[in-house]
């Protein structure tokens, strides 16, 4: 095992290394607390910890919490323990936190210096604000390989505003087919547990009959946002809206698409709005590039939708419908998606234009599958949707 990382002599020992590894995982988006570190250490006592492959499997079991974590774990393990990481990844407690490019800072001043994006920005990365100066965006069929720093596109204030709006919209989209029952004075079913309790007072004579009913339940919203070149001007609004939606309701799911489809749910749900945007920036290769709506939706319908979209879902598509793929692709993808039993709402910023007609081939192909087709270009437009969504 010559590849095993050699730690410096001043390194304080195995416990600190584990703590360092936990910090390393945390920095890479794992949600781990002190409890996990403890479990990890005790797990290592039950195996042959000197054997790297055993240790890898054991730590994976303890530290990974979902499929994405499990997939990323091996690389992270190698980068820390097997000498494959960059120097930066060997985090030992005791190094000053501020000296590193910090992805977790909640301090605005620091986050805005632009240094957080430097490992990914295509220029020299001197840490100046020009780091994303290449944001001149034109509609194109090729993917834009530049990183777009989304902190320029959305501000935390927007998110706070959108959050309130999203909470209202979420409440407007209610589902009336819950199966769990709650106590209610005018319910349609008798709550036996409480009948017995009450009847004790009257010597076993059930005089009052408490009732239960099925409450309305929120649906789960899945939002797909087009961030291709033609949509750049609206991206600010829509991304803030998505972030708001994610924070207002834990049942929602968000994706962005341009030439590919990217899931951004985890990133947007970060408790720190600034950090959420940072994480989003890391995910947004190709922001403002070409648009392949058909392909992206098809990918969605085949992969994520099979898990998360059901009869209780509302799929929100935020796009202008300008697609470089053949319109038939989009039609097929929409049909596939619709078959999952969900309701589909398409919000098109162009629809609010005078004399707009959905003539773009893709838009026309998608129309038959939509439950609602509305205009939305700003947060106000979105707010105006509330009564219409209630009727759905």
């Amino acid at each position: 095992m010559s590849r095993v990382t050699k730690f410096a002599a001043r390194d304080p020992g195995a416990m600190a290394r584990m703590a360092g590894f936990m910090a390393h995982l945390r920095q890479n988006g794992f949600r781990l607390g002190v409890g996990e570190a403890e479990t990890a250490l005790s797990a290592l006592t039950h195996i042959n910890a000197a054997h790297p492959d055993d240790a890898r499997l054991a730590l994976k079991t303890v530290c990974a919490g979902c499929a994405e974590d499990a997939a990323a774990f091996n690389t992270l393990f190698d980068s820390f323990w097997m000498n494959e990481g960059r120097v930066r990844t060997r985090v030992m407690p005791g190094t000053t936190m501020q000296s590193r490019p910090n992805l977790r800072s909640s301090m605005e001043s620091q986050a805005q210096s632009g240094s957080a994006g430097q490992t990914h920005s295509p220029d020299s990365g001197e840490g100046e604000a020009e780091a994303d100066g290449s944001g001149r965006l034109i509609a194109t069929t090729i993917s834009n390989l530049m990183k777009k720093d989304l902190r320029d596109v959305v501000s935390p204030q927007d998110i706070a505003q959108a959050e309130q709006l999203a909470a209202r919209l979420g409440a407007a989209l209610r589902d009336r087919r819950s199966r769990r029952r709650r106590a209610a004075s005018k319910g349609n079913q008798i709550d036996f547990r409480r009948v017995i309790r009450r009847s004790l007072a009257t010597g076993g004579e059930p005089i009052t009959l408490p009732r239960r009913t099925r409450p309305d339940r929120p649906v789960n919203i899945v939002a797909l946002c087009d961030v291709s070149g033609s949509m750049t001007v609206y991206a600010r609004v829509f991304l803030a809206f998505l972030a708001g939606l994610m924070r207002a309701d834990p049942n929602t799911d968000a994706y962005i698409f341009h030439t590919r489809l990217v899931r951004i749910t985890q990133a947007l749900r970060d408790a720190d709005a600034m950090r959420a945007l940072n994480r989003l920036t890391l995910l947004s290769d190709g922001f403002g590039g070409g648009s392949r709506i058909g392909a992206a939706l098809d990918q969605f319908a085949r992969s994520y939708a099979r898990k998360s979209v059901n009869g209780r879902s509302v799929v929100l598509i935020l796009s202008d419908g300008y697609d470089t793929d053949p319109a038939s692709d989009l039609g097929a993808a929409m049909q596939r998606l619709k078959k999952r039993g969900c309701r589909i709402i398409w919000l098109n910023p162009m629809k609010s234009w005078r004399d707009y007609a959905p003539v773009a081939g893709a838009m026309a192909a998608a129309l038959p599958y939509l439950d609602h087709f509305a205009a939305a270009g700003s947060l106000d437009d979105l707010a105006r949707l509330e009564p219409e969504l209630t009727r759905l």
Binding site: A43, G65, K307, S308
Partner: protein, 291 residues
């Protein structure tokens, strides 16, 4: 016991586990923590619990989750009819209110549901909480106390502590995201479709009398079928059904008879679109590759 010993033991009981899974089980058993298994339908998540119960020769207590599952179906419920009768009876022989209350809220009137049953066993059972993601979030909250403290609080009786700590296996298909609180209390393993070698071992373990050539063909065929675009990817159970069907029909070679092959595909393809997608020519091509 080391994790590879566990792996061999499970193999002896007819379950071929991947390294990931064997290690996860080993850690979960040594630490006494619940294990969350996630993966597509039909990769053998539920089977893990059954084999584990076999291996330890204990009971398997299974809680199948569904939407709307609540405490009265999963933890405990009072026997209302008997309670009502008891109240009436005691009213006639004139016992005091307090005595009646003590009596009707006692063990005698408590109906055990799977979770309560699991923590009141004398020997640690295997508790399988199947398809936890089908239940709603409220139900996850019920589980938190049970999974971390192994105790259940019944307001009328007080807290019931576990007599023995059950081995808890939770399974999920990824229908929805589970809450962080629940994930944090569990160890985690992702179960994938097995690779060619592992699946061959599974087939041999389950159908020992199968001929080598046919076994290779079946696995090759099913593995390449999983690569096709299907609505429902066939799992391990489907593969075993397929093998059983072929053996029952006395087929020695997949490429022999296209009509029979097409007919036996019913065991693998469970929707109409999938049937249409895998036309006889496609099936023949896949079978040809496998042979």
């Amino acid at each position: 016991m080391t994790w590879d010993a566990l792996k061999t033991d499970m193999a002896a009981h007819g379950y071929v586990a991947s390294d990931d899974l064997a290690m996860a089980l080993h850690i979960a058993l040594s630490l006494g923590r619940p294990l969350l298994l996630e993966g597509a339908a039909g990769v053998g998540k539920t089977e893990v619990a059954r084999v584990l119960a076999d291996l330890r020769s204990t009971n398997l207590i299974r809680l199948q989750c569904y939407e709307g599952l609540d405490a009265s179906h999963s933890i405990y419920e009072w026997n209302y009819q008997r309670q009502l009768l008891a109240i009436r009876a005691s009213a006639e022989d004139g016992s005091t209110g307090r005595a009646v209350e003590q009596r009707i809220f006692s063990d005698e009137f408590l109906l055990e549901r799977p979770l309560l049953q699991a923590i009141r066993q004398d020997t640690p059972p295997v508790l399988l909480i199947d398809e936890i993601d089908r239940a709603d979030e409220e139900f996850e909250a019920y589980l938190l106390e049970i999974l971390s403290e192994f105790q259940i609080t019944v307001p009328e009786l007080g807290t019931i502590k576990a007599r023995s700590i059950p081995i808890v296996i939770l399974t999920a298909n990824g229908t929805r995201d589970l809450s962080d609180a629940l994930r944090r209390r569990c160890l985690y393993a992702h179960v994938d479709y097995p690779d060619r070698e592992t699946e061959l071992q599974i087939l041999r373990a389950r159908c020992p009398e199968i001929e080598d050539r046919l076994a290779h063909q079946i696995i090759g065929f099913v593995q390449s079928l999983r690569g096709e675009e299907l609505e429902k990817t066939p799992g391990i159970a489907e593969m075993l059904d397929f093998a059983a069907a072929l053996m029952g029909l006395g087929i020695a070679d997949l490429t022999d008879d296209p009509t029979v092959l097409q007919a036996t595909l019913t065991t693998l393809l469970k929707t109409r679109t999938d049937r249409d997608n895998i036309a006889p020519e496609v099936a023949q091509r896949l079978a040809g590759q496998a042979a």
